[in-house]
């Protein structure tokens, strides 16, 4: 039993009701004077900061500057990946209700104890046990901090996805990427600060997993595809670049006179100036986004490491997602999330056919993820890039039907790497069956608190006033998971 004596509840029962001295919004509002404006304050944060002396939120020194969130949509089975349970062999075929208390599940089709079809073996100097699903990830075991005691509150996908992404099971709350860019802005003049690379599967709950919610729309995710143009309307439709420039220049002329007429002696309204500036940024994104998506400058060996030449199409797609993630981080994009790609069966949601389904999903992501971590390490970027690997919940140690596993929010495994995280450690424990957490139970709010902490943000102090409350990503919850801090 471990409890951190230093942490305490944040004084008041419900911290979201406190007003804080620091209002990010007030600063942004100030920043909207002059070039860039409120939107550009995020998109062009560095510039805005220089121009208006607005510093990003830094409650303490940051370890991580960027985040890459590897979202394992559907829920990876913990007992088949990072949490070996030999007891499952021993009790194979038994009725779990004879062994422990079984909660209601989504499909309520409880079968018998199902041992993992995969063998585990130790990897790295730390000896981290990893199943045969993830040999490549095993090869970077010494970079990983595995948390085996994560829990969710929701046993079904949509609520659990919202919970994982926004800290609330309900639709419409701001996502962690939105909060992060709200707190820190972006470091790139030509790209959004928060990008989701969509491998083809948008998780249940849809794009609201990546929403800005009540935060200004500046902080919503831009959803890129890993192929083609990447982003909606980023492709110029004009016949020629010169034609477009002439068109925009003509519009700019109109804008100047419009601004002059409205400006009087006091200058044009801020909103107008911002909109004018945005057109420039949008124009630049027509170039910067294709440039970002153009992998031709990458060496063949790098592309090979990631799996861009894999004979397996899902692996190729996820490889380009991972490679893009690195390129985005290189360019200063603050928060990148990768979603899974279709492997022909379902996402990680194997209610049946566990062996084939999990194997196919693992095959798509294993090599690219390991390559991403090695690549970041080799480029000296891993220490400042927080990589997080997680699903929305785990799976039951007993079968659903004969050969599947149902949802299990009681316990699941996830890992973090880089960005101030201690490598080669395992935190928390589940019971003999991997069904419930028995040691160091953590919650999504704790994950969020930890991510923000590594970015230099105190999660209790990053607030936004909405609907009369000072809202937080972690609501009234969340404790930093100190065991993973380097």
């Amino acid at each position: 039993m471990s409890r951190n004596p230093s942490r305490s509840r944040p004084g008041h029962h419900c911290g979201r009701y406190r007003t804080t001295a620091f209002s990010r919004r007030a600063l942004l509002a100030q920043a909207s004077c002059g070039f860039g404006g409120m939107a550009a304050a995020a998109l062009l944060h560095a510039e805005a900061a220089r121009a208006d002396s607005v510093a990003p939120v830094n409650h303490h020194p940051a370890k991580a500057k960027n985040v890459i969130f590897l979202y394992m949509d559907g829920g990876v089975s913990q007992v088949d990946s990072f949490d070996p349970k030999p007891r499952l062999e021993q009790d194979a075929g038994k009725n779990p209700r004879d062994l422990f208390k079984v909660d209601q599940t989504q499909f309520n089709n409880v079968g018998t104890i199902l041992p993992s079809p995969w063998k585990f073996k130790p990897y790295g100097a730390c000896g981290l046990p990893v199943s045969d699903l993830f040999p490549h990830i095993g090869s970077v075991a010494d970079e990983l901090a595995v948390i085996r005691s994560m829990t969710s509150e929701f046993p079904e996908h949509t609520n659990a996805n919202y919970f994982l992404h926004t800290g609330s099971g309900l639709q419409g709350r701001p996502s962690m990427g939105a909060w992060t860019t709200y707190g820190l802005g972006s470091e790139n003049d030509d790209l959004p600060g928060y990008i989701v690379v969509n491998g083809g599967l948008i998780p249940p709950g849809g794009l609201d997993n990546f929403t800005n919610g009540f935060l200004p729309a500046t902080f919503q995710a831009s959803v890129f595809k890993p192929t083609a143009t990447g982003l909606a309307n980023v492709g110029r439709r004009d016949g020629s670049r010169d034609g477009q420039i002439a068109k925009l220049a003509f519009a700019r002329g109109l804008d100047r006179s419009f601004a002059a007429r409205l400006g009087g002696e006091g200058g044009a309204p801020d909103a107008l100036e911002s909109a004018i500036a945005n057109q420039e940024l949008a124009y630049r994104m027509q170039t910067s986004v294709p440039d970002l998506l153009d992998l031709s400058g990458e060496t063949e060996s790098i592309k090979h490491d990631y799996g861009c030449d894999s004979e397996n199409e899902p692996t190729r797609i996820f490889a380009s997602e991972c490679l893009l993630a690195r390129r985005m981080v290189e360019r200063g994009v603050r928060f990148v999330e990768l979603t899974c790609t279709s492997v022909g069966t379902d996402r990680w949601d194997q209610h049946g056919n566990l062996r084939e389904g999990h194997a196919a999903n693992a095959r798509a992501v294993d090599q690219p993820i390991a390559a991403l971590i090695r690549d970041l390490r080799q480029r000296g970027m891993l220490d400042s890039t927080l990589v997080v690997w997680s699903g929305e919940f785990g799976r039951t140690p007993f079968a659903q039907g004969g050969d599947g596993r149902d949802h299990n929010p009681q316990a699941y495994s996830m890992w973090m790497a880089g960005g101030g995280v201690k490598g080669g450690v395992t935190v928390g424990a589940t019971d003999d069956y991997g069904y419930r957490v028995v040691e160091k139970k953590f919650q999504i709010h704790d994950l969020h608190a930890t991510m923000l902490h590594l970015m230099g943000i105190d999660h209790t102090r990053l607030t936004y006033r909405f609907s009369g409350r000072d809202m937080r990503l972690t609501d009234v919850h969340g404790h930093v998971i100190r065991d993973v801090l380097g």
């Binding site: 409890r3 509840r9 919503q220 309307n233 016949g239 034609g243 006091g266 009369g468």
Partner: protein, 1092 residues
């Protein structure tokens, strides 16, 4: 052993809510009593055990959350003092760790696990088990314990302005009297003058025309209108123009879109597969039509809260009920299919409804009081659950609103007819059976003997003496079988009649194979669906999932809502029926769970007890609130009784039971039984003769007696008197069919609410359905209505009363909130800048002058008949609204955010208006008002489950409000320009500036296509010269003519673009692609989307 304090009200609560925590609850219920006491003072050894082992453990592991020192103790459980801990209901059963919640949660055995961040060490768990085993010893504290932390509504009210009633304060004196057109101006000017500021000069008429057109209708001004108003010598020319805009149907479309933000309007249910809310657009059209008709705001509110309960609903010319359409309001939110915790899901959906209700009508964040008393406002959690009760009392339906009013009348006529028919046939049958006519009936004594001879053996009869009484394990859901005290009928139309059909109703039964027809009497009362209604037909979308399989609207019989604790329900029914037992108001039957709540049965014309087992999908530990809905599938149908019971209910034949009751317990010989039968026959015949057959407690028994007599083989059904009776019966049946033939069978349908019996809600600790506490009666906010309120009716939800209270003049919020919303839409910022939150955490009024202005508008709005159009007119014709949007730098320095309104704020069009304006200038706009939605045009970037087929790129030219609002696939252009995700009330939109907006205007295929179309339309006027065409485009886009410089610049641009595209402007002045570039450039100019 001492018992816990669960006395009085709380004990009852536990009983009602049932097995709250499984086996524990039974113990608690058992302990209910008035003599509440805590465990006695412990022995020295136990006290030592507590102090040395238990108290430190509680302090270290529990008190961080469960203590008053931490604010409000979590779950209202505090470990601070002996009485608070041991007095907490349901915490533990002394001496029985296995039956104690405390032990269960620390063992991590159940859903609730404490402490939440990790299981305690085993020895700590063992200590707590030992503590419970010893009977929870805790030494008595000497000091008086502190009471619960106070929540003082009166203090809260006194502390915040919004609870004080609005007062019409005198209009302040001003200096520049000549500037003022109205009281609004005097209030505004007084503030400006006090700050040493002057209002900005008046905008030009052309600017005002553009501003008014785009802000009042969301469409650009017609250049001809601009010219006309500018040239009009009438000083009231602008007022006339505004009147025209207010009379335009586009006014309703524009302001409807504003209101749809407030009510989180969507046409799908979001969540994983984004299932449709069938026919939601009927509500959208109701809003548009209401605004266009200038429906008074009080009626607008009343119809949304309780439009189904009005004494005289509004009908349109075709007789359709319009009022009920407003109640679609309640069901516009998200819904989840197959929620694992169905009760918690119900609590979450209710929360969204209560929260939306509070914000929309009261500007009050009621949702904040779901888990605890509001932290800052005068709203208690009891207030929240009092209002939640009105929703728990109601249910969802698709209403056949076109036929309701007509069929209500048909049902009334049928009801009268049936009463009359029964009277006449009863009398005629009595005469026949009394034996007055020897030709047809054998002598009465012989008849009694025949009836008696057909009775079961005496022993069996005696055993029935006590039958007919309801068994102990049954929970009654509905009983339509009684003549007196029957369950009131709740139907979603009138096909089930106005009340249950009484026993004794006569009908002609066709004889089999050469046998004559004969008369039968219904032996029981029942809710009865006459097959004459079988042709009912609803037009509209059906429900997704299993419920959509049958045409339900107008055919539903709904039982009251009842809380039950076991999963077996029995229905005594006759006919071919769909039976839907709605659990915790969950209706989205798609996915793996809750299939068992829906079942179809055909009893082949017989009365049967039908068993429905809900056990497998549901956890019954905590009980569920259910009601049953019956829908006939073919022919007629009857429902007599519905009960929850583990075993099949037993009901004796009412006739046999009556005989048994009257029989002497001993020595009853044949003669005695015969005499009992004879007595019953005499009484029944007398009742039939005097028309009281179906009334009174003995109606069933008497009908049964008569039915037995009619079955007497001695009756000659071919004889004269009997055939007369039969033809009389047929004639009455014919008359009945004639009435029913006037029914309106086909009707469009729309989402609406259905009223039911009153169900009071329990306060849920921390908002969790797993933790019900005290039940609160339905009522309105204590801050408005005080602590002592009249009890709301038990037989209806109380929504009618809720609407009354919302609109009562004593309610300080409603009129202010309404007025402020219009101010917000017309000025871009409300006098209260947070239109959905007038509470302490909303943004405050700028100053006392703003308050005076708001109050004055609110008071007059209410007193002068709640006219929304008149309010809009008053605001936009004021001098304040007519100021130009150029700010004086000195004013900006003094008041940088324009709180005092020294100039008109520059406005950016909403996404819907941007798209509509593009359609308007391109000429593609279809001005049709209302109707089914157009599917959203999808791009490659719309992703997700439940993805629909794409609609047309130009949305068929319809205004944006007619694009289907699919929660998970929102339309791209409105979304880029801050259309809110519809999840809760959003009276104030974000106005952001993101590059996606610029990218949209630069590259979106719709924008590019429509720009080309605009250019083509301009070029189609072959008579116009280049400069005229340029000027026309400027006037259409900006409501102003271009300056000579601008014409020259546009010409230069056309020349350059023509050249770039390989042409020569001198030779070809009408190259469509060059003009399309000009059109596209104008759309990209900020003046297109910013209104000065």
């Amino acid at each position: 052993m001492a018992c816990f304090k669960v006395g009085g009200r709380r004990g009852i609560v536990v009983a009602v809510w049932g097995a709250l925590w499984g086996v524990l609850a039974a113990a608690v219920v058992g302990l209910t009593g008035s003599a509440a006491e805590l465990p006695a003072a412990p022995s020295a050894a136990d006290a030592e055990f507590f102090e040395s082992r238990v108290r430190p453990l509680l302090l270290e592991h529990c008190s961080a959350c469960h203590s008053r020192a931490a604010g409000e103790p979590e779950g209202n459980l505090s470990f601070d003092t002996r009485s608070e801990t041991l007095g907490h209901e349901g915490l533990a059963t002394p001496g029985k760790p296995e039956q104690s919640l405390l032990v269960e949660v620390v063992r991590y055995d159940g859903k609730l696990q404490m402490p939440p961040d990790g299981r305690l060490p085993l020895e700590a768990i063992a200590t707590l088990e030992e503590w419970v085993r010893r009977g929870l010893p805790w030494p008595v504290e000497g000091a008086v314990e502190a009471g619960a932390t106070g929540f003082d509504i009166a203090a809260r009210k006194a502390d915040h302005w919004c609870w004080q009633p609005p007062r019409a304060v005198p209009v302040p004196p001003v200096g520049a009297v000549g500037w003022c057109r109205s009281d609004i101006d005097r209030f505004v000017l007084a503030r400006l003058e006090a700050a040493g500021l002057a209002p900005a000069p008046e905008a030009s008429r052309a600017q005002l025309v553009r501003r008014a057109a785009e802000l009042l209708t969301g469409l650009p001004a017609d250049p001809a209108d601009v010219d006309r108003v500018v040239a009009d010598p009438d000083p009231l020319a602008f007022e006339k123009f505004v009147d025209g805009l207010l009379a335009s149907p586009h006014f309703g479309e524009r302001f409807a879109r504003h209101w749809l933000d407030v009510v989180r309007y969507g046409e799908t249910r979001g969540h994983e597969f984004d299932f449709p809310i069938p026919n939601a657009w009927r509500y959208r059209d109701w809003v548009i039509d209401s605004l266009n008709a200038d429906l008074p705001y009080d009626q607008f509110v009343r119809e949304q809260i309780a439009g189904d309960l009005l004494d005289s609903p509004r009908l349109n010319a075709a007789g359709a009920d319009l009022s009920v359409l407003g109640t679609g309001f309640w069901y516009l939110g998200e819904e989840i299919h197959s929620p694992v915790d169905i009760a918690q899901d119900a609590a979450d959906r209710t929360d969204n409804r209560v929260d939306t209700f509070g914000k929309a009508f009261l500007g009050m964040a009621l949702g904040c009081a779901r888990c605890h008393d509001h932290k800052f406002d005068a709203i208690s959690k009891e207030d929240y659950y009092a209002i939640a009760g009105t929703l728990a009392s109601s249910s969802y339906r698709q209403v056949p609103f076109e036929s309701m009013a007509a069929n209500r009348e048909v049902a009334r006529r049928l009801d009268n007819h049936d009463a009359e028919a029964q009277l006449r046939l009863g009398r005629a049958a009595a005469v026949l059976l009394a034996g007055g006519d020897r030709e047809t009936v054998a002598d009465p004594a012989a008849r009694a003997a025949r009836v008696a001879a057909a009775l079961p053996p005496r022993a069996a009869l005696l055993a029935m003496k006590h039958e007919g009484e309801r068994a102990g394990g049954e929970i009654l859901i509905a009983d339509y079988s009684r003549a007196e005290g029957a369950t009131p009928l709740i139907g979603d139309g009138f096909a089930w009649g106005l009340r249950p059909r009484p026993a004794g109703q006569a009908r002609v039964e066709a004889g089999a194979e050469g046998q004559p027809d004969r008369l039968r009497l219904e032996p029981t009362s029942s809710a009865h669906f006459d097959s004459l209604w079988a042709g009912l037909q609803s037009n509209g979308e059906r429900e997704a999932g299993s419920l959509g399989g049958v045409d339900r609207a107008g055919r539903v019989l709904r039982t009251p809502k009842v809380r039950i604790e076991g999963g077996t329900v029995w229905h005594r029914v006759r006919g071919h029926l769909q039976i839907f037992t709605c659990v915790d108001s969950h209706v989205l039957l798609v996915g793996p769970l809750y299939g068992s709540t829906l079942q179809t049965v055909d009893t082949q014309g017989e009365w049967k007890w039908v068993r429905q087992d809900l056990g497998s999908d549901l956890d019954w530990q905590r009980g569920h609130l259910i009601h049953v809905e019956y829908v006939p599938i073919a022919g007629g149908a009857d429902v007599a009784e519905v009960v929850a019971s583990p075993t099949e209910p037993k009901r004796a034949d009412p006739f046999l039971a009556a005989v048994a009751r009257r029989m002497p317990a001993e020595g009853a010989d044949d003669a005695a039984i015969e005499s009992v039968v004879s007595e019953l026959v005499t009484e029944a015949l007398a009742a039939a003769r005097d028309g009281t057959l179906s009334t009174g407690p003995r109606a069933l028994e008497r009908s049964a007696v008569l039915e037995r007599l009619l079955a007497d083989p001695a009756i000659d059904w071919k004889g004269g008197p009997a055939t007369t009776l039969l033809s009389q019966a047929r004639e009455l049946e014919g008359a009945r069919a004639t009435i029913t033939a006037t029914a309106k069978l086909a009707s469009a349908i729309a989402p609406a609410i259905l009223d039911g019996n009153g169900v009071d809600h329990a306060v849920l600790a921390k908002g969790s359905a797993a933790r019900p506490a005290a039940i609160v009666p339905r009522r309105f906010l204590e801050a408005v209505d005080g602590g002592e309120q009249p009890v709301w009716p038990a037989l209806s939800s109380g929504r009618r009363e809720l609407a009354d209270r919302v609109l009562d003049p004593s309610n300080p919020l409603t009129a202010r909130v309404a007025v402020n919303r219009f101010w917000h839409h017309l000025f871009g910022r409300g006098l209260v800048p947070t239109p959905d939150n007038f509470g302490k955490l909303g943004e405050p009024l700028a100053d006392a002058g703003a308050r005076a202005l708001l109050d004055s508008l609110a008071v007059r709005f209410r007193e002068e008949g709640w006219s929304m159009k008149r309010l809009v007119r008053e605001i936009v014709t004021s001098s304040t609204w007519r100021m130009q949007s150029v700010a004086d730098p000195r004013a900006v320095e003094r008041d940088p955010t324009n709180l005092l309104l020294h100039h008109f704020p520059l406005r950016r069009l909403e996404g819907e208006a941007v798209r509509d304006k593009i359609l308007a200038v391109s000429g593609r706009l279809d001005p049709k008002v209302g109707g089914p939605p157009v599917e959203v045009a999808l791009s490659d970037f719309h992703e997700g489950r439940g993805k629909p087929g794409s609609g047309p790129l130009d949305g068929d030219g319809r205004r944006s409000i007619y694009t289907r609002i699919r929660r998970n696939f929102l339309p791209a252009i409105p979304l880029a320009f801050d259309m809110p995700v519809p999840f809760q009330a959003m009276g104030r939109r974000n106005v952001t500036n993101v590059p996606a907006q610029a990218l949209t205007l630069m590259n979106d295929p719709f924008v590019v296509e429509q720009s080309g179309r605009w250019a083509a339309r301009i070029l189609a006027d072959s008579a116009a010269g280049v400069d005229d065409s340029i000027a026309r485009m400027y006037r259409e886009a900006f409501a102003r003519a271009p300056s000579p410089d601008e014409v020259a610049a546009a010409r230069g641009f056309l020349v350059a673009q023509t050249a770039l595209q390989g042409g020569d402007f001198a030779a070809d002045q009408r190259l469509p692609s060059a003009w399309a570039d000009l059109a596209h450039a104008l759309v990209n100019a900020k003046e297109f989307i910013f209104i000065p």
